[in-house]
Subunit: 288 residues, 4 copies
């Protein structure tokens, strides 16, 4: 196996940066645990995302003139159609995040297909959008997903962690057909810093917004030096809270103000990558 | 579903802030785990709350001239009647927190009713109080609770997490009857920062008081900017310890000194909210 | 139930402070999990305490002229007799900590008696000491322990958490017979800050020595203001490491230099408390 | 049992320091959990180590002129032969880390022998190296390992935690035959600070690089004062990320610039230790 990159960025930029949001809402705690629907407080914790977090984040993105990517499970689109339409109307990218936040590697092939298609149908029906991007819930891509995405015309996925830059990913090892992969990483996610739902998620650790920002800034500076692609993932039910949103807003200002950084949506980053005409990389499933 | 707020605060204030205390004592570790009563050290850890924490916190609240809300499980009232009466005599609000700290969503309807009524009986018997406020133990409200509270004349609940401001909550979707909901959140709780009881609760993480305060201050500043309602929840068995109480006292001074903040008990906040004549919001249970 | 204290300290001192050490070594990970003996690395992690940590801590205590209390399980005395004798020879108090670090509340009465007596025999045999103090392993005292200690002539226990000051504890509710109790707390323990043994203990959290010291200092300052008794508990296999020992040494210097603090062993604190002629407090087991 | 050390360092140096790397890649999450191979994202998280982390770390080590030790499971050598050869070509030591990252204490004797020999075969085949050093995966040495290593001509092991300095370890208690042991510790490992793989490893805690560095620096300073041997362990899939690598690079500069520190590979440290002609230490398995 060979490593990806480095790649050239548009207009002589040194690195790229994207602020992305996973609008999981209730879906993230209902898939494989439907009994959580009985817990009204838990449901309200998740509902904060679309109801309060998303409008606040849209105002912030507008203020900082950033085009962002929102990964929206189909279930969220059905439950909060007005809010999801607001995201699209504000000019942001709507991308695919499963129907009920299903982890592909835990579902058989027929189930994976069904989840993809139900998600597509929901986004078409609610927002009239055919997404070009996909992110596996829990960043838990299956080996079958790349080919399923290519067959449905997706341009890119954003769920893998083996590079600092986007690359062309062969849909199966050795195949000339590929999708663009825009890598992410656990340290650039707000879940680990902020999420606590007793008996459901989290160790109880809840960090300060300043600590989370310090972590994300340190990796931003590192990736910028290396010519990489910094992709931050926030959840509106977590980072939409006022104290966290303030720090995130300051981080947006800092990233925008850093010379040589191309701040873009994942769709723009994927299109740029596709335009580079890179040879596809193969990732081979380990055999033991 | 639509979002709550914004709302107007009294006397031209910009935001509201409440210091609240859950006097769980032993009940929080006995419900569903009665065997913990065999552990004398564990019991003593919980007893610190009423025995030492509450008197210290009452002195602090008096010093800072803050009227607070104490959520008192019926079991605590029966075990520590003198201390619970001291809270009431100091002019603070006594509110309902179950009988033995039972999580409503984990109990059937008959059990929920029984827990509510036993809690009411205990507070009536010990302090002669008919509470107007309720908080679900573990902030784990059931979908049945709002109607049960309304039927018992409660004015408000404080267990949901889907807004930055109080609102009128329909007791069932679409109903014109409502209770006031005063939202809370996990980041404004001392349990995640401080609690460790081996085999019972906590990952082992014990944070410094300075870190906890930084977290709470960051959300206070964020909610104040947004015109929201900051509700801090402390447990006397945790935040009544001297080092933590000092930081909490400094936070009280800071919040009181911030121009435009209305520092009040939850009862006062609920009465103000009721007076606004808001249309009730419905929260619909997710169907999968 | 009524609260303890406040109490008067010797020579007009304002508060008391004790540096205590639990020399658990292997016992803490062998009791109830004998299979851990198969893991040579795990055993070596625990052995660091007596082999390296204790000599370093003894040098530090000598440098700062502090008399300390070492809680030594009988198993540790049998496995490391020379080191345990060195502790005694340096003038420190040797106290009882079970035989194989057994948690009293998890053992039946006959077992508790056996563990107490085996621990006494080991300390008598190895160091020629009849301890006056006891600390329950994992601070997990049983309701039977106080009477068992009194029957064996112990002066004090140090395992409960319901006060800021020492007190006389009735050996059973209402009894005029009592032992002195010197309370401790989880935040004044190094285990939560430092311990990680995969599959055995800890969440993986390993804090910096500066963070641990900040936590301990904040509670020291708080308890000093309140006239309380600050009891720090360190484990030589954790806090005997050089980086941690340096911070602990600086904390020793700070505590010694604080005017009005009586730095003493637990034995001295217990004797002082006994001399006050306090009425015994009863702690009643919760009934549900 | 008696403690190790102190020892004399070469050329009048005061202490020793080693930067070591465990190139676990996929093996660390596949052993005993082969189903993880189905999770493409998880595999990509591990692949980051050899693909991106190792080349970056090699550039850093070259820049700081540090010779390091890389522990390479046989499976990693087979899957990434070019990268493992690059490590060797850069002049670093290649050492043994099992075949599929098997924990010796969890495997029977025949299995342990097989894992050692398969690891040797893979390193011989891929890099043409006969390693002189061994580190047990998860630092989980078995009591049988020392003799197995000696029988295969290994000079040293680096998996135990009971000393601040290297020593000669009897291959069985009382034996005159020994291997050199170079101790490590959990606080000098990046896994606890950075690793999170849902359902696989970690509590969710992800620390900032600045916090990890503060922890490692505090122990470096402590061990330097004590004349000890500071052995830092990093995993390229974690510390190879740009933000973390920057802090690690600054730490390398700091350690190199500290007067009196001998920065060396573990092989050099083991050879120096062997040259001291120390009497072997025996570690005796605890009996209960």
């Amino acid at each position: 196996m060979t490593a990806a990159g480095p790649i050239r960025w548009p207009e002589g930029k040194q690195s790229a940066a994207a602020f992305t949001f996973d609008v999981d809402a209730e879906s993230a705690v209902l898939w494989n645990a439907p009994g959580n629907a009985d817990r009204m407080s838990v449901m309200s914790h998740q509902a904060y995302g679309p109801l309060v977090g998303v409008p606040r984040l849209l105002r912030m993105l507008d203020h900082h003139q950033i085009r962002s990517t929102f990964f929206v499970p189909g279930y969220t689109a059905h439950r909060y159609p007005g809010i999801v339409r607001d995201i699209a109307r504000a000019g942001h990218e709507i991308a695919h995040h499963g129907y009920l936040h299903e982890q592909p590697s835990a579902v058989d092939l027929a189930g994976q297909i069904d989840n993809l298609d139900r998600g597509l149908d929901a986004l078409a029906e609610v927002v009239g959008v055919r997404p070009v991007g996909y992110r596996a819930p829990m960043w838990d891509l299956s080996w079958e997903t790349p080919a399923l995405l290519a067959a449905r015309g997706f341009l890119y996925d954003s769920s893998l962690m083996d590079a600092d830059v986007p690359y062309e990913l062969s849909i199966t090892p050795g195949s000339a057909e590929s999708i663009v992969e825009i890598p992410i990483q656990w340290a650039l996610d707000d879940w680990e810093q902020y999420c606590f739902l007793p008996d459901i998620s989290g160790s109880g650790l809840i960090e300060t917004p300043a600590k989370a920002r310090e972590l994300w800034t340190s990796e931003f500076e590192g990736l910028h030096d290396e010519g990489g692609c910094w992709v931050l993932t926030n959840h509106p039910f977590l980072s939409g809270r006022p104290g966290r949103a303030r720090q995130l807003g300051e981080l947006m200002a800092e990233v925008k103000a850093t010379p040589g950084v191309w701040v873009a949506s994942l769709e723009e980053i994927a299109q740029h990558t596709r335009g580079l005409g890179l040879a596809p990389r193969s990732i081979v499933r380990p055999e033991i």
